[in-house]
């Protein structure tokens, strides 16, 4: 039982990395990125391709991928997504949904439907013996640590830096923030750029931990979304806790019956929605 709980929390770490980008983009500009999962898969395949080209250690590959992701996120927001923002959620939804279909089919064309994974330099097979007679993998622990660090860093960024203040300002009232001299379009672009760095990290870890295939994106999006809603919108620690709850419920569900794990996670999400629609730790409204 204890082992299931620990596995659940470690799985939650991965889901937290999936979800932070979604939480950030929605928090700053009320943009729902329906291609979130596909961008994670795209980053995973990017890492796999990069690793096969340069034959470097996966940590170096990840390091090389992060600035690329930053630039891609900035450009995407600045020149594509900014034009779709507004009171009506439809344009941004259609555009990100379209991107999701484009990414899936482009990956299918380039990499075929075969599942692939990223060689982790032995990380995936190493484990740490714990007192009590069971072991946990080094890689899942590393992912959990990364999730913790990213959540902490994002929360600090929002609370303590000038950039974080700009994020909160355009989130609260774009017009007033612009009157105070902020260029909302650039602030938005920076928010997406940072979100894409976390997405790239999530993609690399996903590819190392298990296999990825081009059609995985939508499911990852749903997991990310559930974590955000369970945790409550606008708080990164909320998202972290939401991811833990989701990881735990799925793991317990898998333990009861392998066919029902994901279904169980969905049901818990719906139950939270009915009982506590604002999530566990809400901050942003509307």
């Amino acid at each position: 039982m204890l082992e299931t709980l620990i596995q659940g929390l470690l799985l939650g770490g991965l889901y937290c990395l999936f979800a932070l980008g979604l939480s950030l983009m929605f928090g700053v500009m009320r943009l729902t990125n329906t291609a979130q999962g596909d961008f994670i898969v795209l980053a995973a395949f990017g890492a796999i391709a990069l690793a096969s080209l340069v034959a470097a250690h996966p940590s170096l590959v990840a390091l090389a991928l992060l600035p690329i992701a930053f630039a891609a996120g900035y450009a995407l927001q600045r020149w594509v997504l900014n034009g779709t923002l507004g009171k009506d959620p439809l344009p941004s939804l259609v555009v990100t949904f379209g991107l999701s279909i484009v990414i899936q089919n482009a990956l299918l064309e380039v990499f075929s439907a075969d599942p692939r994974s990223l060689e982790s330099g032995g990380l995936a097979t190493q484990s740490l013996a714990l007192p009590g007679g069971f072991a946990v993998g080094v890689l899942p622990l590393l992912i959990f640590g990364a999730a913790l660090a990213c959540t902490f860093a994002l929360q600090q960024l929002f609370e303590r830096t000038a950039l974080g203040r700009a994020f909160r300002a355009v989130s609260d009232d774009r017009e007033i923030a612009e009157l105070m001299g902020l260029d909302a379009r650039k602030v938005y672009a920076l928010a997406t750029a940072i979100a894409f760095v976390v997405i790239a990290l999530a993609g690399v870890f996903q590819a190392m931990r298990t296999t990825v295939s081009p059609s995985d994106g939508p499911l990852l999006l749903l997991f990310a979304f559930e974590a955000v809603i369970i945790g409550g919108m606008g708080s990164f620690w909320g998202t972290f806790v939401g991811a833990m709850v989701l990881g735990l419920t799925q793991q317990i569900g898998f333990r009861l019956d392998p066919g029902w794990g994901i279904w169980f996670g969905h049901l818990v999400f719906l139950a939270v929605l009915v009982v506590r629609p604002q999530g566990l730790f809400p901050k942003t409204r509307g």
Partner: protein, 330 residues
């Protein structure tokens, strides 16, 4: 002395009515002379069209952008199949019953879905559709994950089955266009447009916003269930992955966005464009889907009104007018 008159119909709309009736009458004779592959094509595109029409009602008029309408499409299909296979219903009779069942199940679903707004409503409905898919995938009496066949039609010969399916599809298309059009012209339709334009203002004028939204959601679920039941009568085989595929909604979004959202002509034009693209390019597989995705993005960013919206702005064409105009005569 100037006299003012309130008009709704336009010359184009009167012409469209007669041309539309003539087309329907012509189409109704198809089973007498057309090849059966044409009729199958028609039934398929009719299902896509009805589904897109209902998505347009929900998103374009109700302001509720959903990525989960396939929940009701698949549910309609499964209910039709279960009524036919296990309850001894004639499947053709089971089609409208299944649509009603989809409308009924939309009520409890809305209690959950309406907790979310905007973009999160869209993904929330998608999760609900996944719950439906996984739920049916775990029901062994309808074949579980691999699905099952509609055995209830076995006794009926192929020609009768195909022409009945065809007439039914035609009737459903006409009925759903009429339903949506008459609904939008009614007092409730006016309330719906007011809600779309400004929810708070509409509420302050005494419109029961929550009730209207539920009504639209239920009607859209009815239509989606109808399309699903019809599709699987024509297809004879159902599986959870086919019935609850997000592609249904993806194609509906494509059709509505290309044709022009928030107008009845939109899904009509969109379905036609989609049918032609599908006919000529679907052999390209991934490239075809990639192109559809790109087209949807480009149209959303550069031609927000879609094809028909462009025509309407440019030439003032309106086939299904819902607005009233004040005409002053002297």
């Amino acid at each position: 002395m100037a006299r003012a008159e309130v008009l709704r119909s336009t010359r184009a709309s009167r012409a469209a009515l007669w041309i539309g009736l003539a087309l329907v009458a012509f189409a109704a004779s198809m089973p007498l002379w057309a090849e059966s592959s044409w009729m199958r094509d028609f039934v398929e595109i009719a299902c896509y069209f009805i589904f897109a029409m209902m998505w347009n009602l929900l998103a374009g008029y109700g302001g509720m952008v959903s990525i989960g309408q396939q929940a009701f499409f698949g549910f309609g299909g499964y209910v039709m199949l279960m009524l036919g296979n296990f309850a001894g219903f004639n499947p053709f009779v089971a089609v409208p019953v299944a649509a009603l069942a989809a409308a009924l199940v939309a009520v409890p679903v809305s209690w959950v879905a309406f907790r979310l707004q905007g973009g999160y409503f869209a993904i929330g409905t998608w999760v609900i559709a996944e719950v439906f898919r996984l739920g049916f995938a775990n029901l062994s009496f309808v074949g579980g994950g691999s699905g099952t066949s509609l055995t209830a039609l076995r006794g009926i010969d192929k020609a009768t089955r195909e022409s009945t399916t065809f007439w039914m599809a035609l009737a459903c298309v006409v009925a759903s266009v009429a339903l949506v059009y008459l609904f939008l012209r009614s007092k409730q339709g006016l309330a719906l447009l007011a809600i779309r334009d400004n929810e708070v203002a509409a509420e302050s004028q005494g419109i029961a916003v929550a009730k209207m939204k539920l009504a639209v959601y239920v009607v859209a679920a009815f239509g989606a269930g109808l399309a699903g039941a019809l599709y699987f009568v024509g297809n004879l085989r159902i599986s959870p992955d086919a019935a609850f595929s997000v592609n249904w909604t993806a194609f509906a979004i494509f059709m509505v966005v290309i044709g022009g959202i928030g107008r009845i002509e939109g899904p009509l034009v969109g379905a036609l464009v989609f049918f032609l693209l599908n006919k000529f390019f679907s052999d390209f597989g991934t490239w075809y889907l990639l192109g559809l995705g790109l087209l949807a993005i480009v149209v959303t960013i550069f031609f927000k009104q879609g094809l028909w919206g462009y025509a309407q702005q440019r030439w003032g064409w309106t086939l299904f007018p819902t607005q009233r105009r004040l005409v002053v005569k002297d």
